[in-house]
Every structure is written in C-alpha cells, then in structure tokens.
C-alpha cells in the first residue's frame, strides 16, 4: 500500500512534513514499514481541506489531517481495515466521500500539466521515469528533426499559459529560424499574480516535466542552455528543482551528448527578486542579466535578441509542462482536448469565497459555472455568487451572466477579462466591486516599474480616484474621467502590465456600474464593505449597558457607565466590527 502525503506549500504550511514522519513512525511501530510506503508528493490541488493524506490503492482521501492522526490512520485503516471516518472528506451536501474518485472536486478535471502532482515523489527521478519521464526527450532526440518537433507543438495547438496565449510552436519556430552561435531557452517561473500558485505547484510536484520540456525546446530551437527564472520566495520549488537538475545530470539526461546524440543541454537557476513586471519577457531577460527588470519595446523580440542579446525562447512553467505529453501521446490526442482555438487544459488556482479552494486543471471550454459550482462546490456559507475574477491584476470581474462562458483565451477577452496565468477568485455579495478594483490597482501601482508615464503616474491617479470613490468623496463626473484614464492607460502603456492594468476597473464599471454610482451619488456601499461609508452605532433602546462592547473595542472608542446606554466616538472608531460581534443584545448596528 502507498500513503501519499501532500507536500505542496499549502499543506506543508500545516505541517504535512510532520504528518509523513508520524506515519512512518507508526508504521514502524506496527511493523509495517515494508508493506506500506509513505510518499511526500506535490500538491493534490484540494488546498481548502489540507493537509491531505491519500491511501492507495483504495483512494481513501483524508482531509485536514494532523500529525497526531497518524496513529489512527495506521492502527485503524491499515491494520484493521477501517476507514477513519472523522478524517474523511465531507461534501457540501454533508455526505461523506470515501473514495477521492467520487469527489466533485476531481470529477471534471483532466490532469495533463498536473499529471504527476500528488502522484509521484518529486524528489525521485525514478518515479518520474516510471511515468514515461524523459521518454519524449529520448524520442525527440532519436527520431525527430527540430522542425518536426516544432511542427508537432504547432499541430497540438498549444498556446502559452502565461497570459497572452501566444502559440508556443510559432514562438519556438521564430527562435529556431534566427541563426546564432548561441541561443537560450528560458522558463518563466516568476509567478507573481496575487492569488496564483499553479506554476509553483508544478515545479514542486513535477520538476522533471519542466526540465524535460526545456531540453526538448532546446533541441527544437538550437539552444544548449536553459535558464529557469524563479521567484526567490519559492524556497521549496527551488530546492526540488535543484534536486531534479542534479538527478537529471547524474542520469545523463542533462549535460553532454544526451541519449548518445550530439545534443548538449544544461539548465541553471536564476532568481527573481520580487517584481511582478518581470513576468513580461523582456523585463525578465533584463532581470536575468542583473539589471532592473524594466520591459523594453518590442521588436526586437526575445526570439531575435533576448538574453545577452541572443535568440531566446521564453515560456512559462505550465506551457512547458504540457510538452512531454504532447510528444508522447501525439499532437492529435492533445488537440482533441479543449476547444478548437484553445486546445488542452488550463490549470487554475481557484480561491476566494468558494467551498473548495484549490488547484484545478480543466479542459479548455469548461464553463465558469462548472468550475465554480461543481468543482468549487459553490459559494461558501450559502451566500450569493456575485462575481468571479480571472486573470489577476490584468483581468476583469465577470458576473452571473457570464457563468456559462466556456473558458478559453478569446472568450474571456471578449467579455472583458482574460485568462492570465490562471488565478480565479470567486466573490460573494459581501464584496464591494469598487474595492476589488481598488485592490488590484493598488497592486499595479506597487508593481509598476515606473518606466512609462501612463502606468507610473496614470495608475497612481486612478488608484487615488478609486480611493475617493470608496470614501464617498468623488463626484459623478469623476466616473467619466476614470473611464477615460482607463482607456488612455490601456492604449498607451509600454508593456502588458500597464496595458491591462485598467481591466479590473473597466470590467467592474461595465458590470457593476450601479455600485459605482451608489458610492458617488448616495455615499453608500451596497456591499457594506467600504469602511469610510459605514458607521457603527448603538441603538439606545437595545443597549443594556453590559460594557461588553467597550471592553472589546481595541481603540477605546466606546464609552458608557455600567447599566447605562453606551456611545461610540465616530472619530476614534476604526470600524473593526468588534463591538458588533461582542453585543449580545443586537444593540450595535451598521449604518
């Protein structure tokens, strides 16, 4: 039997390392170390209920496991064959699910990029090889010309998963056709989208897939050097990549004359130091060169003049992760999945107000409704769905009416959002759309490199105006001005960061115009979330003078004698809501 323990970042944050250790101890105790193997894997995706322990082969899916649960899992399940019921996943319907294959969360998913995540031990190359690892590289080197490889990738219809959706094969071909004594293959692992962690999960769960794909790309484009640009804040992914690179070198799968061919390829790591704009490929290249990560005007494209001014192919982690499968199963197999214009699958980091937060991979063309209400299990706490935000700071907020939109690059663009790198945040009736727009703008303002005026100054001004709106200080004509700023910034910014920065504002204005108007005309926040437009007051008739609220108030804004009606000093009040929670007599109200 195998015990798979999720070793993704989320689960590790809740001590899944110790769980694995405890399980091993317990197995030892019961003398079962030889029959049962404990494997710390990459992310299972079902982060909402982490840490996860999965028992194979019966697919028992234990959720929210603590190290001290190890003794029960071993003594009850493994020794006695009884599932530990209290650890089983309970569906939102309340029903216990005994086998992960019956979880709604996994039912609609097809795992290509995540095929090995939560399945193999990412620190063991043998497990990757056992799953056809490096077979694609071997096949390519033995049986195909670079052009044939490029043709297969083109034929598969694979498009860049980093945001823009540019056809990967075409990109490879550009790099291939630019002759040079030296070329580079770069993997963009500088995932900086707030609320996206799919690249990290792939690197943590299946690092070899990316290495193999980069080598394939190196062969196809004529590069013998690969560079992975990875966020320094991803220590686990870095560690696993380093191990994977070492193992691949040991096996001769990186290095000189791979598979006894004339092809040499090696990979180095470069660390990103916290700049979202470095997701833009020219900025990324400058950063790798030790410069400020500022984007430059294209052309020249990296395929013409990239790293150290040599032709360079840049793709992101998820894009690469698809490549070995395309080679092994054939482009035809791949292109049958998804839609005609967007083949294959897409990984999303599903988060926010859904029941099942986690990492999912669905075929292109799956609808937002399926993702949110089937895989995601609907809205948390039975609240009402309000919006879903895709594409992170570059994307937009979509509403009820867009729920049946099949997800692909073009469809999302058409409705005012975008695929982006795959963040998907669900919002409910308590979320103020103006505040959400402001949140994203704040991110853009912080992450703007400052090179071009519309992004540097324009976004700052937009953020200020949004701030005014949420404070009830804006006028109706400001809304028009805001719209104009959006259009100009989108129209004139230097790089994708600035060009798409207005999307969260434009899409919320488009879909939630009334909400903007309410803030401006009535100084009212319909979601009741804008603090400046809120007042906590005490209803004298209900107040019994129990002093509970005054004791809870962190800033001492509430005064009143015992058994006397209390009062809130509005100047001191920070609107934290502690008084509302503390009052047992419904004497605190929000206005």
């Amino acid at each position: 039997m195998h015990l798979l323990v999720c070793g993704g970042t989320g689960c590790r944050a809740s001590a899944s390392d110790s769980i694995a250790e405890s399980l091993k101890e317990q197995l030892h105790h019961h003398n079962m170390d030889h029959e049962v193997q404990v494997i710390l894997t990459g992310c299972f995706g079902f982060c909402e209920k982490g840490p996860i322990v999965k028992v194979l082969p019966d697919n028992t899916f234990y959720t929210e496991v603590k190290p001290e649960d190890a003794s029960d899992i071993v003594a009850e399940h493994l020794v006695k064959g009884r599932q530990v019921e209290r650890l089983l996943y309970k569906a939102p319907s309340g029903e216990q699910v005994t086998d992960s294959r019956h979880m709604d969360f996994y039912k609609k998913q097809i795992r290509i990029a995540l095929r090995n995540c939560g399945f193999i031990d990412p620190e063991n190359i043998d497990e990757y090889i056992a799953r056809d690892g490096y077979l694609a590289l071997g096949t390519v080197l033995n049986e195909m010309t670079p052009q044939q490889v490029i043709d297969q990738v083109k034929e598969s219809g694979l498009r860049g998963r980093g945001g823009g959706g540019f056809p990967a094969g075409k990109k490879w071909e550009f790099a291939y056709k630019n002759e040079s004594d030296q070329k580079y293959v770069v993997c963009n692992a500088d995932e900086g989208d707030p609320g996206a962690f799919m690249d990290r999960s792939i690197l943590e769960g299946d690092p070899h897939a990316v290495l193999e794909a980069m080598a394939i790309c190196g062969y196809a484009t004529g590069a013998d050097q690969g560079l992975i640009y990875i966020r320094a804040e991803y220590p686990l992914a870095i560690k696993r990549l380093k191990i994977a690179i070492e193992q691949a070198r040991e096996y001769g799968l990186l290095g000189q004359q791979i598979f006894d061919s004339h092809f040499n390829f090696d990979i180095q790591l470069r660390y990103g130091a916290g700049a979202f704009v470095c997701g833009e490929e020219t900025a990324l290249i400058h950063s790798m060169e030790g410069e400020r990560g500022e984007p430059t005007f294209k052309p020249p494209y990296p395929a013409q003049s990239g790293y150290l001014e040599k032709p360079t192919n840049v793709n992101n982690v998820e894009t690469y992760a698809n490549v070995p499968v395309i080679i092994n199963k054939g482009p035809g197999w791949f292109s049958k999945i998804g839609t005609q214009k967007a083949t294959g699958t897409k990984v999303f980091a599903l988060a926010g107000k859904v029941n099942n937060v986690g990492l999912i991979e669905v075929p292109m063309g799956t609808t937002l409704r399926e993702v949110i209400f089937e895989i995601g299990g609907g809205i948390k706490g039975g609240k009402k769905f309000k919006a879903v935000q895709t594409g992170g700071p570059s994307g937009g907020c979509l509403t009820e009416e867009h729920l049946d939109t099949p997800i692909d690059f073009d469809n999302l663009l058409a409705v005012g959002s975008m695929m982006g790198s795959g963040g998907m945040i669900v919002m409910d009736e308590d979320d103020c759309m103006v505040s959400v727009a402001k949140f994203f703008l704040e991110f853009t303002v912080e992450e703007s490199c400052g090179k071009c005026a519309p992004c540097r100054v324009g976004n700052k001004r937009m953020h200020e105006l949004l701030e005014r709106i949420t404070q009830g200080k804006a006028e109706k004509k400001d809304l028009q001005r805001l719209k104009n700023m959006c259009h100009v910034i989108a129209d004139t910014s230097l790089c994708g960061l600035g060009q798409t920065a207005p999307s969260p504002v434009l899409s919320t204005m488009e879909n939630f115009w009334d909400e903007y108007v309410a803030h401006v005309e009535d100084q009212r926040c319909p979601a009741g979330s804008c603090k400046e437009l809120m007042r906590y007051e005490i209803i004298p008739e209900n107040c019994v003078g129990c002093t509970a609220c005054a004791r809870k108030c962190p800033v001492g804004a509430i005064t009143g004698e015992r058994k006397q009606v209390h009062e809130i000093d509005q100047d001191k009040c920070i609107k934290c809501g502690a008084c509302l929670d503390a009052c047992k007599f419904d004497a605190v109200t929000i206005k």
Binding site: G450, K451, C452, R461, D491, T492, L494
Partner: protein, 592 residues
C-alpha cells in the same frame, strides 16, 4: 537598403526599412511631439526608452497606440498622428505628468526653455483634474558646486541616465526605486558632490525640464558689479562666442565676439578679457611640458610618462581623479586656461592696476558647468581668496543681457581690453575637440624643429567629430602620434589602452563634452540637434582663420608676460602660478 512606403496623415513617403514612424513623419514635415526621445546624431547616443508615450500615434490595424519614436515602419503602414484618440491620449498623459510636477514655472530656471512647458502650451492644458488630492513625489533638492538637482521635476525621460552612463561612463546617475517613486539619482540619493559625478553637465544639457540645472551665479554677479569698491574682471571662454548668439535668435554658428564684449562692458564689467589669452599661456606651459617629456623619452628616459594628456577640461580631470586615480600623474600639470587666467589676473594684472586681490572679482563666462566647481577647488585660492571668484555659463550671461534689455544683435563689435584680451587663433580653437592639441602642435612643432609652419598651420587630421581620432604628425622626421577623444566614454577607452600598455600615443587631448567645449553643459540648449554643435565648431575655426596671429608663442602679450613677470615656461614662478597637481578622489572600501 530596402525602402518601404508608408502613409502618414494621408501623405505617402518612402523611407529605408527600419526607419521609425517619428523620423519618417519628420521627413514630410509632420511634427510628432516627443519628450523622452533623444537622438544625438554623430555622437552615437540614442535615448529611446519609449517611456513618456507622448509620441503615441494611431497605426491602422493595431489595437493600441504606437510610440512613434520606437516603432519601425513597414511597407503599406498607415499612420494617423493627430486623431482625436491620439489627441486625447497625449493630453491625458501630459496631464498625468503635470499632476506630478511642481507648478513653480514663475521662478523655475527652465521656464521658457522647458520641453514639458512647451508641450503643455502646445496641447492647451488649462487644468489638471484631481490635482487637489494628487500625491506628488517629493525629494530634497541637492545643490552641488555645479549642478542643482530638483527631482520633484524629474519626468523619468532617462536622458541624463543615458548621458551619464552610456556617453560618459561616469555612472553617477541611475534609475532608482520603482513605480510612482521612480526617479534618476545617485546611489542612496546621496548628494552629487559625494558621488563620482564629474560635473560635466551633460545631464543638464539634455534635461527636458528643470530637474537638472546649473548653479546660478547671476545674483553674485549683479552684487559684484553693483559694489563700487570691487574691480570686476571678465574672462570669456572661446566656445561662448560661437553659441551666445543662438539665445538671441541668431543662426547657430554665428560669431558674436565683438557684440559679447560690448554687452559685458554695458553690464558694467571693469575689464573685459579673454580666456583665449590664458589658452595661449596654457600652450606655452603644456607645449613645453610635452616637449620636455618627449625629448626625455627620445633620450631613453624610461621613467617619463607618455602619452601626456591635456588638462584643460575640469570634468575630465575629475574623471581621472575618480575613476583612474592610479593614472593621475599622466595629465599635464598645467592648469586650465580659466585658472591660469585667474592666477595671472590676481597677481600680474592686479599689480599693474594696483588693486589688492581681495578687491578684485574675477568672473569667468564659460560654456561649462564643471568650471564652476573648478574655480572652487581649494588649491586655486590664496588665503581663501579664489583666483576665479565664480563662473557663469553662456546661458546665465544670455539671461543677464536680456535682463539688461540689451539687443545683442545690434550692439557694436568691440574689442577686448589689454593686456589679457590679446589672443591668437590657437587660443580660440581650444573651444572645440582637437583644438587644444592642434594649438599645442603648432607651437611644439616650431619649437622642436626650429622651422616655421607658415601655410601648413591647419592640421586637418586633428579636426573632425568622431569620438576617438588618431593622427600622426611628422615633426621633421620624428613621427608624433596624437590621440583625441571627446566624451568621457571615449576617454575611458584610451585610458584603458594606456593601462594595458597598448597605447603608442605621445599626446592625447581629452574633452568631456560632445564636440568639446562648444557642446558644454552651460551652452544654449541644443535640444538634441547636433547640427548646432557642428555649426559652432565651424564658427570656432572661422574665428581662428580671422586671427592675424595663430600660434600661441607669437602672442606679444604672452611674450611680454614671460619677459616681465613669469620668466621661463616651466620655470619656478610658472610652476607656482600655472601648474597644479591631482588627487585621488576615488571611492575606497576601507576596513573599519
């Protein structure tokens, strides 16, 4: 070269492939505004960050606007440069820029000569929406001896950064911070005086706004002239006369020597002298030093330092002191003309007019910002009284002339005062790249060979505009290898050659600014038109040609100076008054 056809505002133009929209439009007289873009033809500097986006235009079939400065045309491209969409974008962007820009135009040094102001006027901007609550970047103002930095006015065009790093390789300025807080500044936002800045002033010369300006001494000048108890002496550098006229609407390259002298007299200077006189003096010292080193070298003295480098340019001197301190004994020990003038004025001339040096104010009019700093160097003062009290730029002088309501164009052509207004053609050509070394060659040749140059007085091989030039002059059988560099980046290349022992030059002239002093940081702004620099260079050569005497050692007032006062070139008195030494100013990591 392949040509492509492009339609801009319904006009078709054929241009070579690779041409930008901006340049193609310019060819047919369509003016697309730019702010960050800067191309200095001939000196190989192009600043094209695509940052300001003011040049945005509409390209048919493209989803967003294209920056005209960076977008290359393609065959069949259709461009609209002034549609309402473009106008709206352009105006909105300039509103953005202004919303983060101080509104002190009334007292700003750049007022009337500011590219941002021009644009605001052109686009008819009357209000900046949201200004009441718009946060503005604030930085402390940095006053160095030469340059004032007011980063509040920085619009991140990055031109200064290009000049400081790509052209000068000084590396004092760099983009710092990011996003709204981004600006261009020295490390740790330190004051320039603690940075490796050479005060060349090329950052000031290209700054489109008032973020980088010169330290203004016009107030000191008014005070000095207004004081009846001081004798105010002017010296004017050669490059000033070739550029001052531009400030009064004259064609670039118009010589205004005589009118400038009139103006200075009108302003109330007691004596109007010429730095050219001191340039001749420099040649006497530097020329003799070169011959001395050369002859010792030819006699087999292996200790002698060759090549000898010129030392007239204070930015260049500061560059070697900062960046190549181990080579600080290579430049000539001769002081610059400005400083030679000062020390002679406050000794020889002060004696003549029986005025104590404390009562004399020597003011230099210079094309240069580093001269302000040079005049303040401790070694150029006696008991705290500087040889040159302060230096004003061509631009500051122009302001004063305008302030005094003088119509430069119609002033009479006056001559400089004597004795220190007498100069030769050799002194004049100090104002352009190659001029110092040509002047030195004229004198050194005659002194070394004992033969008159007569008709061959012009050394064409030393003239030109390329960044690094090499020439060989036959000193009657002895071939002398001469190198010339303008721009400190070019100087760096020659210095590194010397360091590696690969240099076979005997003498090298170095000027920090493009084209030499004519392109100095204190000159009328060229607004990126390097043709202006070339016109000024021609004017300098014209002035040389007009001079009856064209060799420094033939200047009668110089001859008299040596006879009556200094004695021999390189003699003891000359050493005291006309030579200097250099310091190690580099950054040093020391163990604490």
């Amino acid at each position: 070269m392949e040509n492509v056809k492009v339609t801009i505002d319904n006009q078709t133009v054929e241009v070579p492939k690779g041409t930008t929209i901006y340049k193609a439009a310019k060819q047919i007289g369509i003016d697309i505004p730019v702010l960050c873009y800067m191309e200095l033809e001939d000196i190989g500097i192009e600043n094209k960050p695509g940052g300001c986006r003011v040049c945005s235009v509409e390209v048919e079939g493209r989803h967003n606007l294209a920056p005209a400065c960076a977008t290359e045309v393609f065959d069949g491209m259709a461009v609209k440069t002034h549609t309402m969409r473009v106008i709206n974008a352009r105006r909105t962007i300039v509103e953005f820029l202004l919303s983060d820009h101080p509104k002190d135009c009334l007292t700003c040094k750049k007022s009337g000569n500011c590219e941002l102001q021009d644009l605001a006027i052109k686009l008819g901007i009357r209000e900046i929406p949201g200004q009441e609550y718009a946060e503005m970047s604030t930085y402390k103002t940095d006053y160095s001896p030469s340059i004032v930095r007011e980063l509040d006015k920085c619009i991140m065009c990055r031109r200064c950064e290009s000049m400081c790093n790509d052209f000068q390789t000084v590396g004092a300025l760099n983009a710092i911070n990011r996003g709204f807080d981004a600006a261009v500044a020295p490390a740790f936002e330190m004051d320039l005086q603690y940075s490796p800045c050479t005060y060349c002033g090329q950052c000031v010369a290209v700054c489109p706004t008032g973020a980088l300006t010169e330290v203004d001494h016009s107030r000191d000048l008014i005070d000095a002239i207004s004081d009846p108890n001081t004798t105010v002496v002017a010296q004017t550098a050669p490059a000033v006369r070739a550029a001052l006229g531009e400030e009064f609407g004259m064609e670039p390259g118009t010589l205004v020597t005589g009118k400038m002298v009139s103006a200075l007299r009108e302003l109330g200077f007691d004596y109007v002298f010429d730095t050219d006189f001191a340039a001749d003096l420099t040649i006497m010292e530097e020329g003799h030093e070169l011959l001395d080193r050369l002859n010792r070298h030819l006699q087999g003295d292996s200790d002698v330092k060759l090549p000898m480098l010129t030392s007239c340019c204070p930015a260049w001197v500061r560059f070697i002191e900062h960046h190549f301190p181990d080579m600080k004994d290579i430049p000539s020990s001769a002081r610059s003309p400005q400083q030679m003038f000062g020390s002679i004025a406050k000794t020889y001339f002060a004696d003549q007019i029986e005025t104590p040096r404390e009562k004399m104010v020597v003011v230099s009019v210079m094309p240069c910002l580093a001269k302000k700093y040079e005049s303040q160097r401790e070694e150029f003062a006696e008991d705290g009284n500087p040889d040159v009290d302060f230096s004003v730029t061509t631009r500051e002088l122009a302001h004063l002339i305008k302030e005094a309501n003088l119509d430069l164009k119609n002033l009479s052509d006056d001559d400089f005062d004597r004795p220190m207004g007498e100069s030769t053609g050799a002194g004049v050509i100090f104002g352009t790249t190659g001029g110092v070394i040509e002047a030195a060659t004229r004198t050194a040749y005659e002194l070394q060979t004992g033969q008159q140059l007569n008709d061959q007085i012009v050394f064409e091989q030393l003239r030109g505009f390329e960044g690094i030039r090499k020439a060989n002059v036959d000193f009657n059988g002895t071939p002398i290898n001469i190198g010339i560099a303008h721009g400190l980046g070019n100087a760096r290349k020659l210095l590194e050659q010397i360091k590696r022992g690969e240099s076979d030059f005997h003498a090298i002239e170095i000027m920090a600014c493009p084209g030499g002093c004519i392109g100095g940081g204190g000159q009328p702004l060229h607004h990126n038109d390097t043709k202006i620099l070339k016109a000024r260079q021609q004017a300098i050569y014209q002035e040389d040609q007009n001079k009856p005497i064209r060799k420094s050692h033939e200047n009668p007032q110089i001859q008299k100076l040596y006879k009556d006062f200094l004695g021999e070139p390189l003699g003891q008195k000359a050493h005291e008054l006309l030579h200097t030494k250099y310091f190690d100013l580099s950054r040093k990591i020391e163990i604490s």
